[in-house]
Amino acid sequence: MSAADPANAPAADPAAIDRLIHEPSRLLIMTCLAVVESADFLFVQRQTGLTAGNLSSHMTRLEAAGYVVIEKSFEGRKPKTELRLSDDGRRAFERYRDQMQVMLAEGAR
């Protein structure tokens, strides 16, 4: 997904790392949503292994940051929650990956 070459990229500023994504559980969620167009709540829960309350809390934060779109609807009489990364979320995830790759490459030198 990322075409950046960490070896030739400028050194990343640790302060510029997106802390919202950097948190392990949210990184799991972002990774899970980055590889699909959209998924329902249960699918993300199964993929990440997080509890419903925990996942919900992180989703709220990611949604507040504009990284995730949460759409609630009904399938028959059953409520359904559809989750997907927003365009901003995908860009932020790509940026985060690039920055981390640069940092890891710097650290390895």
Binding site: E23, P24, L27, T31, V35, E37, F41, F43, S57
Partner: protein
């Protein structure tokens, strides 16, 4: 696994997409259809009677219908659903096109033979190899395009079974293949049911889903530290646990 690596992200995508094959239902469907084929081969002397073909279509239709019902009522409530990325959907469409192309070729060959325009006079072994080939290739292509590893086993078994009809004039390979695939499907299904029990009413949904509302921040709030611990052994690895996500 590190989500920073493009290859690993591709693997994560593959695992997410192949989650739908982890229920073993597709194996059960293919296995049952092979057994039906074997059963109808045993009715060879009745092939000309009117009820054989409709009966075959009805049975395979019922199996396929049962497969969709089971996926809807057994698998989805346990693992949820997802919509793949456009690139994956395109790949699936190409797979379907390859399958359609080969099915058309197979239908044409059958038609030409039935009308007498095609009378293969080459060796029986060559014909059986050719039959195996035109069955194996589309099934293997579908397995490849859908990243479904057990699909290669299906392709080999069904290909060999098809060729064996011509080479040995017996349908027993369909029986063996059907039983093998059925057994694999059952084992996979049992493992799936154990690994993914039905979640509690609320567990698979946002906590106050019943109200159709997002939870209050305070209600569902947990600290980052707690969240990291709840993620368990794979917290910080950047990707889900293998036992949850593994492509089997």
């Amino acid at each position: 696994m590190n989500p920073l690596e493009p290859d690993n992200l591709a693997a994560a995508e593959r695992r997410a997409f192949t989650m739908k094959f982890r229920d073993g239902l597709h194996d059960l469907q293919v296995g049952l259809i092979l057994l039906v084929v074997y059963g109808f081969m045993g009715l060879r002397e009745h092939w000309a009677t009117w009820w054989v073909l409709p009966g075959y279509i009805l049975l395979t239709g019922a199996i396929t219908g049962g497969f969709f019902l089971a996926r809807k009522n057994v698998a989805r409530p346990r693992i949820g659903t997802m919509k793949p990325l456009p690139a994956r959907r395109k790949r699936s469409r190409i797979g379907a096109l390859v399958l359609a192309l080969f099915v058309t070729v197979q239908a044409l060959l059958v038609l030409l033979q039935a009308t007498g325009d095609l009378r293969p006079d080459f060796e029986r072994v060559m014909v059986s190899l050719f039959a195996s080939f035109i069955v194996f290739v589309p099934m293997a292509a579908i397995a490849w395009f859908s990243s479904f590893n057990r699909g290669y086993l299906h392709a080999v078994l069904v290909g060999v079974s098809t060729g064996s009809i011509i080479a040995f004039d017996t349908g027993v390979f369909f029986l063996v293949s059907g039983l093998v695939i059925l057994t694999v499907g059952m084992v996979v299904l049992v493992r799936f049911l154990r690994e993914f029990p039905l979640p509690d009413e609320a567990a698979g949904q946002m906590p106050d889903e019943a109200a159709g509302q997002m939870p209050d921040d305070a209600a569902g709030q947990v600290s980052d530290e707690t969240a990291g611990r709840e993620a368990g052994a794979f917290a910080g690895t950047g990707i889900g646990p293998e036992e949850v996500n593994g492509d089997r």
